[in-house]
């Protein structure tokens, strides 16, 4: 039955696409419609159909009777969020184009909205992380009187205006924990990623330049590390580390940073070695070697500037993975230690609320708030990295 509907939908769209193309040919007669494949026309119609579907869902969420509307609550949030973020990114870019020095204005002029949005989000996260103690209304480990306050601040739905995003099961303010989470999760992830790049990048380039037995030794060692499933390996090491750390919790967090950095540096090593090997065969490296340059100069002055693009892309991706690894370890109880707030832990702790999604969307949202914070940063970082990649590859032409 469903198959039949799909088939009808498909054929209908195909027909609409054909009609669009025929109309375009008849009315406008531009070469664009003439050379348009049927698949492209179908793609246009599919996009139109999807947009229409989303618009219909949004309309339902606003004006449908109260027994149906909650089903579309999250769709509404997503659409409103998307529009809002796009607007914010656009405004930020417009601001950057009019304010600042001539140089910064030029950068903003060539920037796509996605990159402006990414920069805006990263800036906001950075501000929140740095000024967390000032911004948060309550402490991250402060247990308040009322537990399980529904987000939204609407008393009719079980909210409380004092806690705009509600409280968790033991009565800690979710907004405050989200703000402190930015400090903990993002801070640790950033430090870990930097460490992984320092380690993996340096060793990778070293292996690429020197080759021979050092390359063999390092590469085989990395292969061994990569052969062990990384999460299990991290768990194993964390178990050892917690024995070493004893009751010093900050020491355990430090061990976590180092362990994840080492495990992730294997991936960075692989990449930088491969990139480095492509650069090392260039004549300008040979010229530098024949000049008698030392290793440090070769790696940091000759190779690194040419490896920025792939390394940056990897940094964006690796940052997200590290982030998720920390969340996973926290979930298993060996990562960032309570009572420190961490988004990964929050998702886990609040996960049970998701069961209310169908009938009381507000009550179901707490785990999604933390997950959304992770997703937003991930997307923002990747937007910025994409843009940097694009502009740095444009330089080569």
């Amino acid at each position: 039955m469903i198959l039949a509907y799909l088939l009808i939908g498909f054929l209908g769209l195909l027909f609409l696409g054909w009609a669009l193309r025929a109309a375009g040919r008849g009315l406008i007669g531009s070469p664009y419609f003439r050379d348009m494949g049927l698949s492209v026309a179908f793609g246009y119609m599919l996009a139109v159909a999807l947009v229409a579907l989303l618009a219909w869902g949004y309309w339902l969420s606003r004006f449908a009777p109260p027994e149906i509307a909650p089903r579309y609550f999250f769709l509404r949030i997503a659409i409103e969020g998307l529009v809002l973020f796009a607007l914010a990114g656009w405004l930020f870019r417009a601001l950057g184009r009019t304010l600042g020095t001539a140089g910064s204005r030029k950068v903003f002029r060539a920037m796509p909205v996605t990159a402006a949005f990414g920069i805006l989000v990263i800036l906001l996260y950075a501000i929140v992380a740095i000024f967390a103690p000032l911004l948060a209304p309550y402490g991250q480990d402060q247990v308040l009187a009322t537990a399980n306050v529904v987000p939204g601040g609407d008393p009719a739905l079980g909210g409380n205006p004092d806690f705009p995003l509600g409280t968790d099961q033991i009565g800690r303010d979710i907004l405050s924990r989200l703000i402190f989470g930015a400090q903990n999760t993002v801070g640790f992830a950033f430090v870990t990623t930097c460490l992984a790049f320092l380690l993996g990048g340096t060793l990778g380039f070293l292996a690429a330049v020197l080759g021979g037995w050092l390359d063999q030794l390092l590469s085989r060692f990395v292969d061994v590390l990569m052969a062990i499933p990384s999460l299990i390996f991290a768990l194993l090491l964390m178990a050892i580390a917690s024995a070493w750390a004893g009751s010093e919790r900050w020491l355990l967090t430090l061990y976590m940073v180092v362990i994840i950095a080492v495990i992730d540096s294997t991936r960075v090593y692989r990449l930088s070695r491969a990139v480095g090997q492509n650069i090392v065969v260039m004549d300008y490296i040979e010229a530098a070697k024949l000049r008698g340059e030392g290793l440090g100069y070769l790696i940091f002055k000759e190779i690194l500037p040419n490896a920025y693009a792939p390394l940056l892309a990897e940094f964006g991706l690796r940052f997200c993975f590290v982030f998720l690894t920390i969340a996973a370890l926290s979930f298993l109880g060996v990562g960032i230690q309570p009572p420190l707030a961490d988004w990964g832990t929050m998702v886990r702790d609040l996960a049970a609320f998701i069961n209310y999604a169908a009938f009381a969307p507000q009550a179901a949202s707490p785990p999604l708030l933390a997950a959304g914070a992770i997703a937003l940063l991930t997307v923002a970082v990747n937007f910025v990295v994409d843009w940097m990649l694009y502009s740095s590859s444009g330089l080569k032409e």
């Binding site: 070469p31 050379d35 260039m282 040979e286 070697k289 000049r291 008698g292 040419n306 080569k396």
Partner: protein, 549 residues
């Protein structure tokens, strides 16, 4: 003109750079009759390739046809629909690219790629097309035509691949083939095989062709008419003979004159002088394959020794032995009488400073992320210890020496320079170390003739001013004639013949030197025909077989 095949009228093409459209072709007319070969020559950036592609109604990304018309056999290619073009391209108009190695898909056998066109265009069935491919391979004098198609592209040599690509272009018996520098990447000896093969097959099938090249001597062999382009505009067009004998425009004449550049001979070397570099009896190998065997030659102060040979002859390996990148197994290298450590890592800084290198491809020889000032400044700082203002002053002096004003070029990146300018920066970097010996590894072979001539003159002037010694690796005998004092001919890792230039260009020769000398195209349009007559066809087939080993 009823037999006009291709007519281009007032064609204008623009390319986008930094949000604005810059003209590439500024109103060119072109007529081509059936079975006629038109040679298109000019420097890089003249718009030859763009015009060649436009003759197929195609433009690269970021390039558009902004005016004029391209008419192929009555069909307007500028406004043709994608479907119409698809029916024409590959079937009636074919294209042969400069690098066959880069144009074949390495994952498929040659014959699979060959038969795709005819089968897609419903010209032949697959089995017919395979038989036809073998026939074409035979006509193009490829060795073992029955089997060669069933190899992968990397299993045949560059010259053979270029012929296989020509066969592929022929597969649908097109009316027009565009050859875009098909022999530029090949050795002189290989070039002859490809040229004669292309010429014969074009004649046999009465195919019209546009032959794009920057090598005048080549185009003289191939074309019925020649059109000279400069910066997107036509300079002049005439029959090949008329064009060669009586060029009208100054620009054309200057192109012709490049070949005539030759340095005056220097006095003979005194026996008692210690050579700057003395290579004696070196044998070197990559792994277990020997690439150099008992190679010896001397390079004296203020002199240029040209090392000639086709690719794989060991020219560049000899240079790697001298620089210490590849320590030889036997033999030694002396610098002013003093034995150099075989490995460059063991050499002192001043030993390294004395031997500098200029590379063939300036694009890979200059770090794309460093400015001209940094590139040239580094050796100054590294060897001379100069910093800050003193370093900047020295860089400016060097830029002056290579005729590039410092005010304009100091802060530029290599990507903002032309090919010839990049090569000049490479020279300045070598000079910055204040060496007494420079290895020039095919420094002009990637450049246009006019630009190459400028580089050669610059090198000659620098030699006179600074009494530098050069080892000049090249496969181009015109370059040898222009700049060398002594010549070393190499083949299969051995020195075949060596001596002063004046002796080398006079018989009797070693047979290999003879082959090399005879393979250099001359400006005479009948040169190729005469040469082929002399050698006999079988001979050329054999030469192809030999290259396979």
């Amino acid at each position: 003109m009823s037999d006009a095949l291709l007519t281009i009228r007032d064609l204008r093409i623009e390319g986008r750079s930094d949000e604005t459209w810059m003209p590439i072709i500024k109103g060119v007319n072109l007529d081509l009759r059936r079975g006629e070969v038109l040679g298109l020559i000019g420097e890089s950036g003249a718009g030859k390739s763009t015009l060649g592609l436009a003759a197929m109604g195609y433009t690269r990304d970021g390039v558009r046809i902004s005016g004029g018309s391209v008419t192929f056999d009555g069909i307007d290619l500028v406004n043709a629909s994608a479907d119409d073009k698809r029916n024409l391209l590959g079937k009636r108009i074919a294209y042969v690219a400069q690098s066959a190695a880069a144009s074949f898909n390495p994952a498929h056998k040659i014959i699979d790629q060959h038969t795709e066109g005819p089968v897609q265009h419903d010209v032949m069935r697959r089995d017919e097309s395979e038989l036809d491919a073998v026939e074409l391979y035979r006509r193009l004098r490829l060795p073992t035509p029955d089997e060669i198609g069933f190899r992968y592209p990397h299993q045949v040599s560059g010259g053979q691949l270029q012929r296989a690509m020509t066969a592929m272009a022929m597969s649908c018996r097109p009316d027009l083939i565009i050859f875009d520098e098909p022999t530029t990447a090949l050795d002189v000896t290989t070039q002859i095989e490809v040229l004669s093969a292309i010429r014969d097959i074009v004649e046999q099938f009465n195919t019209a062709a546009i032959y794009i090249t920057h090598d005048l001597a080549v185009v003289a062999q191939m074309a019925d008419r020649i059109k000279v382009l400069l910066r997107g505009e036509e300079v002049e067009e005439a029959d090949t003979r008329t064009m060669l004998d009586t060029p009208k425009e100054d620009y054309t004449r200057s192109l012709w004159a490049v070949r005539a550049y030759e340095r005056p001979a220097k006095p003979a070397i005194l026996k008692k002088d210690t050579p700057v570099i003395s290579v004696s009896g070196i044998t070197a190998s990559y792994g277990t394959t020997k690439v150099l065997e008992d190679v010896s030659f001397d390079i004296h102060e203020g002199r240029t020794v040209a090392v000639v040979g086709e690719s794989g002859s060991g020219k560049s390996t000899a240079a790697r032995c001298i620089t210490g990148l590849l320590p030889p197994i036997l033999g030694e290298i002396k610098f002013r009488g003093e034995v150099l450590p075989p490995n460059y890592r063991k050499r002192t800084r001043s030993q390294l400073r004395e031997i500098q290198m200029i590379y063939q491809i300036a694009d890979t020889a200059l770090n794309p992320r460093k400015t001209v000032g940094d590139i040239i400044g580094r050796p100054i700082q590294f060897y001379g210890g100069l910093r800050g203002r003193a370093k900047r002053k020295r860089v400016e002096e060097l830029l002056d020496q290579i005729e590039m004003p410092a005010s304009e070029y100091f802060d530029r990146l290599p990507s903002e320079l032309s090919g010839g300018q990049k090569q000049r920066i490479g020279i300045a970097r070598a000079l910055a170390a204040e060496p007494s010996f420079i290895i020039c590894d095919e420094v002009t072979s990637a450049l246009d003739q006019l630009v190459a001539e400028g580089i050669l003159r610059l090198l000659a002037r620098l030699q006179d001013e600074l009494s530098l010694s050069y080892m000049f690796i090249t496969h181009d005998l015109a370059t040898v004639r222009a700049i060398a004092d002594e010549v070393v001919v190499m083949k299969n890792g051995r020195v075949v013949e060596q001596g002063a230039k004046s002796e080398m260009f006079r018989p009797p020769h070693h047979p290999y030197t003879d082959l090399l000398l005879a393979s250099v195209p001359e400006m005479d349009p009948d040169w190729l025909s005469k040469l082929l007559e002399e050698r006999g066809r079988e001979d050329i087939g054999d030469a192809g077989m030999e290259k396979m080993d």
